[in-house]
């Protein structure tokens, strides 16, 4: 649902990108997603397809495997992927915006050349390890440490809730050095002492791998440290970038849920009339439409600011905060319109709604973005 014809603002090439991803989702994700979601499995066979289509790291320059794509196009890609499923979009987000972007932004030239083109081709998968069992919204309190021994760093600690953790070939791991400064490291799969454990008890984002990373005296050379990352700012900069895509993704899920609810309401007959002809249903649908349209407009404006290099992190916080909350509410309300059918994976609204619970929490919870915005407009910090 694009009530204000915002997609008319897309240029020809952006429209083609939208149509391409939309067709990919319709053909290759929609027929299988319900089943994978129920099984609690990520459809791994889609990775080479997404790579072939160019969906990993598209904003980077060609020498790093990208296409120099603008941020509106990038947002549209994320929106269309999550029209399919949040787990698929999360995979693409983590690969592009968290793992690849960490290397792109804070890596050495050697690291960029070594990893980025192969990650764009889907030959190497990445993950981003910041959160810990006891450090979520407050990542500065992390306990994972990096001890320097000559030209080697010894990493010790545990990372939790890491998307793509066990399937990743390279993990971006954030740890504190002896001075308490947060630094980033590229830890390759198979490095002695590095292991992962998947979390199988999720009832959200089921078609996505979420893991614990265990770092037990893992030794990595200095050449695997991200040289330009120093302090908490570095992972926060990366997350800021990632959550721009999360917000666009949430719009896709909400649009899919609303479209589904409208179509269903027009077809479903009760009391001799389509349920869409009842005022309560109409009001529900219109509330969904109105709130969603507001966030779509925010998305387009933030995309412009991103392309002009004028987006502040607070703009992205506002977008992420609104998009995930509204999308969750819309998907939940859509589920209600679908009645009993709405609780199955044959329809999509509830799958989207429970997925969106994760998006509300990760890459900065709804509350944390409230505090970020609150600090910005009042000048008072209310985090602790």
């Amino acid at each position: 649902m694009d009530y204000l014809h915002l997609d008319d603002l897309l240029n020809e090439e952006q429209r083609m990108i939208r149509d391409m991803v939309r067709q990919f989702v319709d053909r290759e994700i929609m027929p299988i997603i319900g089943e994978y979601w129920l099984k609690g499995e990520f459809p791994m066979h889609l990775v080479p397809r997404m790579a072939e289509l160019g969906l990993f790291g598209p904003t980077f320059e060609e020498e790093y495997g990208g296409q120099g794509l603008d941020y509106l196009s990038y947002g549209i890609i994320m929106r269309e992927l999550e029209r399919g499923d949040s787990g698929i979009r999360s995979f693409a987000s983590v690969q592009s915006s968290l793992a690849m972007y960490s290397i792109y932004r804070f890596g050495s030239e050697d690291q960029k050349r070594k990893y980025l083109p192969r990650m764009a081709r889907g030959e190497l998968l990445g993950c981003f390890g910041l959160t810990e069992p006891d450090a979520g919204s407050d990542p500065g309190s992390m306990r994972t440490v990096a001890r320097r021994e000559g030209d080697t760093w010894v990493l010790h600690g545990t990372k939790m809730w890491i998307t793509n953790g066990s399937v990743a070939d390279v993990a971006v791991v954030w740890a504190k050095d002896a001075e308490g400064v947060i630094r980033g490291f590229l830890v390759e799969k198979g490095t002695p002492g590095f292991s992962t454990q998947d979390i199988h008890t999720k009832i959200s984002l089921r078609a996505s791998v979420t893991s614990e990373l265990i770092l037990d005296e893992v030794r990595v050379p200095e050449a695997q440290r991200l040289p330009h990352a120093e302090g908490l700012r570095a992972p926060l900069t990366v997350l800021n970038h990632g959550r721009y895509g999360v917000a666009w993704g949430a719009l896709g899920a909400a649009e899919a849920a609303l479209d589904e609810a409208i179509a269903y309401a027009r077809e479903r007959i009760q009391f001799g009339r389509p349920i869409a002809s009842f005022q309560i249903i109409q009001q529900r649908l219109v509330d969904m439409l109105a709130r969603l349209t507001g966030v779509q407009a925010i998305g387009y404006r933030v995309a412009q600011l991103m392309n002009e290099g004028k987006a502040r992190y607070t703009h992205i916080s506002l977008f992420k905060r609104q998009a995930t909350r509204v999308a969750l509410d819309v998907a939940r309300a859509a589920r209600e319109v679908l009645g009993a059918n709405g609780i199955t994976v044959e329809y999509h609204a509830l799958r989207h709604a429970v997925n969106l619970e994760s998006t509300l929490t990760y890459e900065g919870t709804y509350d944390i973005h409230t505090l970020i915005l609150g600090r910005d407009i009042t000048g008072f910090e209310a985090f602790s």
Binding site: E13, M16, M20, Q23, R27, E52, L53, P58, G68
Partner: protein, 252 residues
Amino acid sequence: MRAIALVKKVPDTGIPLKVLPDGSDIDRSSLQYVMSPYDEYALEAALRLKDAGKLTELIALTVGDEGSEDVLRTALAKGADRAVRIQVENPDALDGLRTAERIAAWLKDQDVQVVFAGKEAVDDAAAQVHFYLAEFLGWPAVSYAVDCELDGDTLHLERETDRGEETVALPLPAIVAFDRARFEPRLPSLRGIMQAKRKPIDRVEPQGETRGAVVRVKVALPPAREAGTVTTSEFPQNVEELIAFLKEKKLI
């Protein structure tokens, strides 16, 4: 070896149609447009030959207005080397004969050995252009292809017809029109989409004789179907009811 893929921009048939109040045309204001699906199969067949190194150049061609360049860009994004638009202001007013005339007038001066087309465009379903073109050029044409292979100067086609499957061979130059093929059309990649911007679209003035065209007089939606009769009784009573019903309507 050089080939042409004919592509046409048509309304997406997945969207319900409305007719203008005066019945002169369908309401085009809320339509979305796509490349005609059979053209997509034909284009894919050509792209596969190109990937296999059997075509040196693949040109996408449409007869249309500026807006119809969308389908040319799509063809370029998927891998066509360049594109040609024969410029007409109101492509919808062209019938198959006039469209084919214009293509033939341009094509006769080109060094082209194969023309790929869809068996019909899904908007008017006239299925005429490729056969008129064959007539104007004096080339053989075969429709309902589902697969093809190029071997020297011969095009081998697999066809599926109501009578069964058939394999035919055509001497080049030739025209082939595709049905729903044995393979799926590819999606353009991001790289392809970005490169398409840099590939040329030649815009050429229409040439060729202009004969009288078929004119659309009126369009109307098919009458709404009446609700059917449902029997809820058990077997075998339901069969008896069905027989009685058919007899009553004098259908058996």
